[in-house]
């Protein structure tokens, strides 16, 4: 089982080449840039499976444990696949006081997932996140990079419907 999880040969070769190019281009101490490399890897692969973590460890001459330690420490890194759209509901204080919990609940209801899990159709991952600093618009949620402000549970219906219809139009 462990062998299978850590089998690096299943990683996409083209994507690895992209990552290699990035690592090659780093000037100075490459190990010090581990967090930047992980950011890049997540950007390329979408998430950081354990075999990819091991690949990065070998590439930077670090132990796998060290890389895994860093990946699991920071909330920005995902070890599991994420949906095409990541819905982040801000749970900062300002949003909380203005009812962000109700917004989150509605999002979970509509997507049929639990927190940090991918929806059945593979479209959505729902997260609650720390203050994103748009407190003037509380409560706030983001879908990938798009920010939605002053969101009510009713608006959530509209937003989710929008992304579903975009998806259906593509098909």
């Amino acid at each position: 089982m462990r062998e299978k999880i850590l089998d690096m040969s299943t990683l996409d070769k083209d994507l690895l080449l992209k990552l290699d190019d990035y690592i090659e281009a780093i000037e100075g101490d490459k190990q010090e840039h581990l967090i930047h490399v992980l950011h890049k890897a997540q950007e390329i692969f979408g998430y950081l499976p354990q075999n990819l973590q091991l690949y990065i460890a070998r590439k930077l001459d670090l132990s796998g444990a060290r890389v895994n330690g860093v990946v699991t420490f920071y909330s920005f890194f995902n070890e599991n696949p994420v949906g095409k759209y990541t819905i982040s509901v801000c749970m900062g204080t300002a949003c909380y006081v203005k009812g962000a919990d109700k917004v989150l609940q509605r999002v979970l209801e509509l997507t049929g997932t639990s927190k940090n899990e991918i929806s059945k159709d593979g479209l959505f991952t729902v997260k609650d996140v720390r203050c994103i600093g748009a407190c003037g618009l509380a409560p706030v949620m983001t879908v990938n990079d798009k920010v939605y402000g002053k969101v009510t549970p009713k608006d959530v219906d509209e937003i989710i419907r929008h992304y579903r219809s975009v998806e259906n139009a593509d098909k």
Binding site: E32, H33, F77, V97, R130, C131, A134, K146
Partner: protein
């Protein structure tokens, strides 16, 4: 243009386009808040409309950083007329162009309507929101295009660096900052000049100037706004710090969540490098300085300086014991000074205007201004910068406009998860570092969350503790296990499963965690609980003695028997006949609030 000596900068400033070159300047906010309400589209449309109306030559469109009036965005300001339009929509653009810009008639309906004034305020400077403010750190935010170095230079940008390199020795720079009395704006309030002096004194072949842009306090967004609205001022200040400390390297540690700020910083660094303002032999002197960006990856504890340094080195962001302080052994084990964004933003202004000017502002122990982020139950959400010593009442009521529906404001939470609450009896206290500490709160980074009479303080405390126990890095036991236990007690209380003894346990545990944790996160984590326990003991008791009302009830005197509540109740727990007072079965009520929303005569009482 490339700057090779001090004269070049002056020449460049003369050549830079100015606002006065144009008949009309239209400023559009491109801060995160306004951009999320389509200000980018508005800017595109505005330029298009100006072109089709053939007036583009006389009008200068400037995409600026944050105006601070975030709750009313997107915002457009027209100069020199000094008119601010709020909540502008894409559909309004043609009218603004045709009416205001071409026919010189103000579009009244888009002006901000102050609830305390019958007339809409026309001049921006006359708005209550801006009148009591004093902008030093935010001086260029909402005034210039942050992606254009020339806009910064026109406003005396890089002249502070030029002055320092020409006129002052490094020791003199440190003396100026010390005499100005500037204290760290990130939380602790340590004297900036002192930090620089210590870093200068410790020997090292390399030294580092580190900018802490890991703004993690929920409810605080001043650092993001400064980076988005005036990135060059941070670069300039870091170079001044580098000259003062004998450092040639600058690092900016920024949250990965701050995409726009990071992008603008990168643009600013590239522009400054091209202009020869970052690099070797700056202004033709022997001063060299380089600036790099380091991305964070979502960990609140990285705002603590030792944790931040470990994170920059590619490790888990766990704090280490001090001493040694970073000024002795910081990044890569070399002397480093970690300063906050807002602290840096003050530096160029202090150099250009002198320490006498700066130290004349504020109170005895806290000089200058402070930026506060107003959020929560307040009319004017946004960023405000006021002199130290301004009272809470002035900020919340005069600038913030009070509660949006005129309800009573019960408390202000200041300092984020490390701070505490301020109650109404203290609203007239002058705010500075020391007065806040004496009230059991702290300045923190300056987030102010306004809470009204309906806010449940126990739940607020639980909310903060959930945050800190989740963000605890796990290195030291008091913080890792202690905050978890405190959270469990609070959770028990809120579920009405607690006991009166729990209150003592909370207090003792809180005090112990404060005394024995390794870093600032743990040492301050119990503050939100301890301070709400101090000021709102009755709310805790109601939970501990299980006397707290948890269901909705109907006031029989007010109820008109319209049956709307009964029809909206999802669990059918409301009974009664038409035109007779209704009744809620408390054993069935799930406190969803549907009846409260439905009632036309406010007869439903909240728990």
């Amino acid at each position: 243009m490339r700057i090779n000596n001090f004269e070049d900068l002056k020449l460049w400033q003369k050549k830079c386009p100015r606002k006065t070159d144009y008949k009309i300047n239209v400023l559009i906010c491109m801060g995160t808040s306004c951009m999320s309400s389509d200000s980018e589209m508005i800017a595109i449309l505005l330029e298009k409309t100006l072109k089709t109306r053939n007036v583009i030559a006389e009008v200068n469109v400037i995409k600026t950083g944050c105006f601070g009036f975030c709750g009313q965005g997107p915002i457009i300001k027209i100069e020199p007329d000094d008119i601010t339009y709020v909540q502008v929509k894409v559909e309004d653009i043609e009218e603004i162009v045709d009416s205001h810009i071409i026919n010189r008639t103000i579009v009244e309906r888009l002006l901000y309507q102050d609830p305390h004034d019958t007339d809409a305020i026309k001049e921006s400077s006359g708005m209550n929101f801006y009148r009591k403010q004093m902008r030093i750190a935010l001086r260029n935010c909402g005034e210039i295009n942050p992606e254009n170095i020339e806009d910064y230079i026109v406003n005396d940008g890089y002249f502070a660096l030029s002055k320092v390199l020409q006129e002052y020795t490094p020791e003199k720079v440190i003396e100026i900052i010390k005499k100005a009395g500037l204290r760290g704006r990130g939380g602790g309030g340590f004297y900036t000049g002192l930090k620089w002096e210590m870093t200068r004194r410790f020997p090292g072949d390399e030294k580092y100037v580190i900018c802490n842009a890991d703004e993690g306090d929920p409810g605080a967004f001043m650092d993001r706004s400064i980076l988005e609205g005036d990135p060059h001022s941070i670069l300039e200040a870091m170079m001044i710090a580098g000259y003062a400390m004998g450092a040639e390297n600058g690092l900016i540690y920024i949250r990965a969540e701050y995409g726009i700020a990071t992008k603008r910083l990168r643009i600013a660094i590239d522009q400054a490098k091209k202009a020869g303002l970052i690099g070797k032999n700056i202004f033709g002197t022997n001063f060299n300085f380089n600036i790099e960006i380091k991305l964070g990856a979502g960990a609140f504890v990285c705002g603590e300086e030792t944790a931040l340094i470990h994170s920059m080195e590619g490790f888990r962001g766990e704090p280490t014991k001090k001493p040694p302080f970073p000024s002795e052994a910081g990044f890569r084990g070399k002397p480093s000074s970690v300063n906050n964004v807002e602290t840096f933003a003050n530096i160029p202004a202090i150099i250009l205007k002198g320490y006498e000017w700066f130290s004349a502002i504020g109170t005895k122990g806290s000089k200058g201004t402070k930026v506060f982020a107003l959020a929560g139950q307040i009319r004017n959400n946004g960023l405000v910068e006021v002199p130290m010593g301004t009272t809470f009442r002035e900020i919340v009521y005069d600038i913030g406009g009070g509660h949006p529906e005129g309800k009573n404001i019960k408390a202000i939470q200041i300092g984020g998860p490390s701070g505490g609450v301020i109650t109404e009896e203290y609203f007239d206290t002058k705010i500075d570092y020391d007065s806040l500490i004496s009230m059991g709160a702290m300045m923190g980074s300056g987030g102010m969350i306004i809470m009204d009479e309906e806010t449940d303080m126990v739940k607020v405390a639980k909310f903060y503790l959930e945050f800190t126990q989740d963000e605890s890095c796990g290195k030291c036991t008091p913080c890792r296990i202690g905050t978890k236990r405190m959270y469990e007690i609070l959770d028990r209380l809120v579920k009405m499963e607690g006991k009166p003894e729990d209150l003592d346990k909370l207090k003792i545990l809180g005090e112990n965690i404060k005394n024995s944790s390794l870093c600032g996160l743990g040492q301050t984590a119990p503050n939100p609980v301890l301070s709400t326990m101090k000021y709102f003991p009755e709310e805790y008791e109601a939970y501990a003695y299980r006397t707290k009302k948890t269901t909705y009830t109907i006031d029989p005197k007010k109820c008109i028997g319209c049956t709307k509540c009964a029809r909206n109740c999802p669990v059918s727990c409301i009974t009664g006949t038409v035109k007779e007072p209704h009744y809620i079965d408390e054993s069935k009520c799930i406190a969803c609030g549907a009846c409260y929303e439905a009632c036309p005569v406010d007869a439903i009482l909240k728990p």
